[in-house]
C-alpha cells in the first residue's frame, strides 16, 4: 500500500462502510435488540422471573419441546433420505442419472405448506382419500395413517426439505478425489470399511451443512405445523406465537410472550450453528480436490431397475401426487365431493383472477419479492465488498451483523420488524406493504451476503490494484473490473431471494394487513376459513407461477453462463 492513494481510498471506503453498517443496523440490528429488550425488560426493569415464568408455562414449554422434536426428526429423516439419493445418483450406475438428479430437486419448487395442504386432503384420519381407500381395501375400522400428528409433520417437512442435503452431498461426492478410496481398496479394505473410514468422513462437512440448513429451517417453520398440527393442539413456537398474538387481540403481552419465545429460537439456532462449527473443526476435510477424475461407480446389477423404480416412485408420491391433488381439489364444486367429472368446474380458478383479494395477493407477492430481491442483492453486494475487500477498522461489527440473519428465524424477524416499525421511531409502516418489504430484506440478507462474498473472494486483489495503477478511479475500477466479475454471484443472489420470497408465509403471516396479503397468507387464510377449494385453486395458480419462474430463470442463467 502506497501512502499517496491509501488516503482517498480509505475515505471512500469509510463512507461505504458506515453506510453498510447503517443498513444492517437498521434492518437487522435494531429489531433484534428490541426483541431481546422486550423479552428481558418490563417497564424499564430487568424481569428475569417473568421470563422464566413464561417458559415454565406448560403451554409454551410444550411448544418449545415440539419445535425441537420437529427440527430434530426432520433433520434426521431428510439427511437420511438426502444422503441415500445423493449416493445413488453420484456413486452408482443408476440409469437416467441426469434426469434423476434434476427430478430430485423438484420438491424444492413445491412450497411445503401447499404440500401439507395436499397431504391433509389425502391422509387426514377420517376423510383422507388414501385412508378411505386403504380402509375399504383392507376392511379396517380405523384409518391406518394419521397425518395430523408430530410424525406426520416431520415426514411432510422432510419430503420437501431433503433437497438441501441432497444438493450438498451429491456435489461433494462428485468432486471427491477417488484415489483416496482406491488406495484403501488396494490396501485390502472392504466396501464397508471404505465407506466408514474414507467416504463418510470426506463428505461429512457437506452432510452437516445440509443438515444444518434443514434444522434451522424446520426449527422455525410455520406452514406445515400450522396446517397439520394446530387443529389437534400440536403447536411449535411459530404457530404458538401466531396463536397468542391473534387470540389476545394483538395485545402487548402477547407480543412480549412472542419475544421471549423468539429469544429461545435465536439461542437454539445459534447453538446449532456452533455445534456445526465444532464438529467441522474436529477433522481436516480439505481433501476434496478439484480433480477431474470421476470416482468409481458401484454396479447395482440386479438392483438397478428396482432402485430406479423406487426413486421414480418417491418423486411420484412426494411431488406429483400432491400437485395433482391440489389441482383437482381446486376444481371441485365444493369440498367433500368425489373427483368425478360432474363435480369438477373451472369456476374456482376463474374466481382467483376476478376476486380482488386473490389478485392483490398475487400482485403483492410478485412485486414485494422482486423489490426485496433487487434491494437485498444490491445492499448485500455493497456490504460483502466492504467485508471481503476493504480492511478498515470496525469491520468486525459488520461481520457480526452480517452473520446475524443466518440464525434469525422468520417469526423472529416479523416480531422485530413490528416492534421497530410501528411508530416507535417515528416511522409507522404497519399495515403497509413496506413492513413486509423490510422484513423480507432482513430475512434474505444472509442469502445475498453468502452468494456475494463467495463471488468476491474469487476476485483477486491484484486485478483491482492493476486497474488503480493504470490510473482508473476507485469508482471506475468497481464498475469496469469488480462488478462484471461478480455479476453471476449477484444474479444468483437475486434469484435465491426472489423465489423463496414469492411463496413466503412464516414472516408475512404476522405482518399482513387487509390489502397486503401475500400469496402464502392468502392460501393459508382461505384454508383456515374453510374455503378449501379456493385455497387449493390459488395454490395451483401459485404453483404455476413458481414453475414458470423457476424454469425461465434456469434457462436464463444457463444462457448467461454460455455467453461468458
Amino acid at each position: 500500500m502506497v501512502d499517496i492513494y491509501t488516503k482517498p481510498k480509505i475515505s471512500v471506503a469509510q463512507i461505504v462502510l458506515l453506510f453498510s453498517i447503517l443498513v444492517l443496523v437498521v434492518v437487522v440490528g435494531i429489531p433484534v435488540i428490541l426483541i431481546f429488550l422486550t423479552a428481558f425488560f418490563e417497564d424499564g426493569k430487568l424481569n428475569i422471573p417473568g421470563f422464566v415464568q413464561i417458559l415454565k408455562d406448560p403451554d409454551t414449554y410444550q411448544a418449545l419441546w415440539n419445535s425441537l422434536v420437529i427440527a430434530f426428526g426432520t433433520t434426521l429423516v431428510s439427511t437420511t433420505v438426502g444422503v441415500f439419493f445423493a449416493w445413488l445418483v453420484a456413486r452408482t450406475d443408476l440409469p437416467f442419472k441426469k434426469t434423476m438428479k434434476a427430478l430430485f430437486l423438484v420438491p424444492f419448487m413445491l412450497p411445503s405448506f401447499i404440500g401439507a395442504l395436499a397431504w391433509k386432503v389425502l391422509l387426514s384420519p377420517r376423510a383422507g382419500y388414501i385412508n378411505k381407500f386403504l380402509m375399504a381395501l383392507l376392511g379396517l375400522e380405523n384409518a391406518p395413517i394419521d397425518i395430523m400428528s408430530m410424525g406426520g409433520i416431520i415426514v411432510i417437512e422432510s419430503m420437501y426439505l431433503f433437497p438441501f442435503v441432497f444438493l450438498q452431498v451429491e456435489s461433494a461426492l462428485e468432486r471427491m478425489d477417488p484415489t483416496l478410496e482406491e488406495s484403501a481398496r488396494i490396501s485390502g479394505a472392504g466396501l464397508l470399511t471404505i465407506t466408514r473410514k474414507i467416504t463418510l468422513p470426506l463428505v461429512l462437512p457437506s452432510i452437516l451443512s445440509g443438515a444444518l440448513l434443514v434444522a434451522l429451517y424446520s426449527l422455525a417453520h410455520f406452514g406445515v405445523p400450522a396446517i397439520l398440527g394446530t387443529e389437534k393442539g400440536i403447536y411449535n413456537i411459530p404457530t404458538k406465537i401466531y396463536e397468542r398474538i391473534y387470540s389476545s387481540g394483538g395485545s402487548f403481552r402477547a407480543i412480549r410472550v412472542g419475544t421471549i419465545l423468539s429469544t429461545i429460537l435465536v439461542i437454539s439456532a445459534a447453538l446449532i450453528l456452533k455445534a456445526q462449527d465444532l464438529l467441522l473443526k474436529k477433522g481436516k476435510y480439505q481433501i476434496i480436490a478439484g480433480k477431474s477424475m470421476r470416482p468409481m461407480l458401484l454396479k447395482l446389477r440386479a438392483l438397478r431397475t428396482p432402485l430406479l423404480i423406487v426413486s421414480i416412485l418417491y418423486i411420484g408420491i412426494t411431488v406429483i401426487l400432491p400437485t395433482v391433488t391440489i389441482f383437482l381439489v381446486g376444481g371441485l364444486k365444493t369440498y367433500g365431493l368425489s373427483f368425478e367429472l360432474k363435480n369438477l368446474t373451472w369456476a374456482n380458478y376463474l374466481e382467483i383472477f376476478r376476486w380482488k383479494m386473490t389478485k392483490d395477493a398475487i400482485w403483492n407477492s410478485v412485486y414485494l419479492s422482486l423489490g426485496a430481491a433487487l434491494v437485498t442483492m444490491l445492499a448485500g453486494t455493497m456490504i460483502s465488498y466492504v467485508i471481503v475487500k476493504s480492511r478498515p477498522r470496525g469491520k468486525f461489527i459488520l461481520e457480526l451483523l452480517g452473520v446475524l440473519p443466518f440464525s434469525l428465524p422468520g417469526t423472529v424477524i416479523a416480531l422485530g420488524v413490528i416492534l421497530t416499525w410501528s411508530g416507535r421511531f417515528g416511522i409507522n409502516i404497519y399495515n403497509t406493504p413496506w413492513i413486509i418489504f423490510v422484513a423480507y430484506v432482513a430475512r434474505y440478507m444472509a442469502f445475498s451476503l453468502k452468494s456475494n462474498s463467495a463471488a468476491l473472494q474469487q476476485v483477486s486483489d491484484s486485478l483491482e490494484e492493476a486497474s488503480r495503477a493504470c490510473g482508473a478511479t476507485h469508482f471506475q475500477t468497481l464498475k469496469n473490473i469488480v462488478l462484471p466479475l461478480i455479476r453471476p454471484g449477484m444474479i444468483s443472489a437475486f434469484f435465491l431471494i426472489f423465489l423463496p420470497a414469492l411463496r413466503e408465509l412464516t414472516t408475512s403471516v404476522l405482518l399482513y394487513g387487509p390489502t397486503t396479503r401475500t400469496i402464502g397468507v392468502a392460501i393459508y387464510a382461505l384454508n383456515e376459513d374453510g374455503e378449501t377449494v379456493r385455497a387449493a385453486a390459488l395454490a395451483s395458480v401459485a404453483l404455476i407461477i413458481i414453475l414458470v419462474g423457476e424454469t425461465s430463470i434456469r434457462n436464463f442463467l444457463a444462457r448467461l453462463q454460455k455467453q461468458e
Binding site: A127, G249, G250, S251, Y335, G336, K356, N527, A558
Partner: protein
Amino acid sequence: MKKQVPLWVAILMAITSMLYAGGSKESAAPAQGEKKEKLMVYTSMKEVLIGELRDAFVKKHPNISFDYYSAGAGKIMAKIAAERQSKQLVCDVIWTSEIPDFIAMKKEGILEPYISPEAKNVVSPVSDPEGYFTAARLGTLGITYNTSKVKNPPKTWQDLLKPEWKGGFAIANPALSGTAMVSIGLIVNTFGWDYIEKLKANGARMGQGSGQVVDDTASGDLLGCIGVDYITIDKIKKGAPLAIVFPPEMLVIPSPVAIFKGTPNLQAAKKFVDFLLSKEGQTIIANSYTLPSRPDVPIVKDVGLVEAKDAVARAMKVDYNKLMAEKQAVIDKFQQIMQGK
C-alpha cells in the same frame, strides 16, 4: 427447452398483465364530478355473503372505492387492536357476529353512533338504542352433519352425547370465530359447562375457523359440527353431502354493524350501513341463506332455515353485558377443556 423461454415469459407476462389490468380498471373509474370516496369494511362474513353485497353496493355507489377484509372475528379484533396501537386505523366499518366486542368497543368510546333511517325496520334480540351498532343479520347456527356418514340425524343437543358421535363432533375455535364464541356463551348459559365437558368426554374437538369445521364435516373428517346457516347451506347447494338441523333451543346470533369514530370516510360508511339495512341489502343477505334482520324481507324457503320470529322465540338467552365481561374467561375455559388441560 430453450425455445420455450419466450413462451414461458409470455405466459408470465400475460398473468401479470391480467392482474394489473384488473387492478387498474378499478382505480381508473372515478365518477365524473363526484368526489371519490373510500371505504374499508372488516367483516367476518364469508365471501359468498359479502361478495354479492359488494357488487350491489359498488353498482349503486360507483364513486365509492369499496374494499373489505374478511376473516374470523378474533383475527379482526386483533388487527384492529394492533392498528389502534400504531394509531393507524385502516377500517371504517366493522361487521362481525361477536356482540361482546361491540359492547366493549362502545364502552371504550371508539364507535360512532349512527341511527340509520332504515334502522326502524330492524328487529333483533340485541339492539343499541343510541345507535352505536345495529344488527344487519340474524345468524342462526345449528348442527351441521355429514349425510353420508350420519344415518340418524340428531334432533337435540343431547343427541350429540350418544356413542355414535364419539370422536366426530367439533366446535370452531372461539378465539378465531365470533359465532363460536357467542354460541359457547349461549350453550354454557343454557346447559352449563357440564355439557361442554360431556361433549369432550365423547371425543369432541376444537376446530379452526367457522368455515373450516363445515368443510371438514363435508369431507367426512368430522361427522358434524356447530355450523353457521349460510356457510352450510351454500355448500349444500353446491352439492356437498351436508344437512343442517336446528335443535329446539336455537342459537340465534345477531351480526351488528358499526362505524368507527373519527373515520375520514364517514359519509361513505353511513351509506354502507344504510345499504346493508335497506330492503335491497337485506334481500341479498336473505338470499345468501341466512336470516335478515328486517321482518319485511322474506327468507329463502325449503333450505331448512327457521323463520326469524320463530327462531327468536326458540333462541337461547344470555346477558350480553355479562358475556362481554367474561369473554376471555369463556374462551380460556373452553380451550382448556377441549385441549384436555
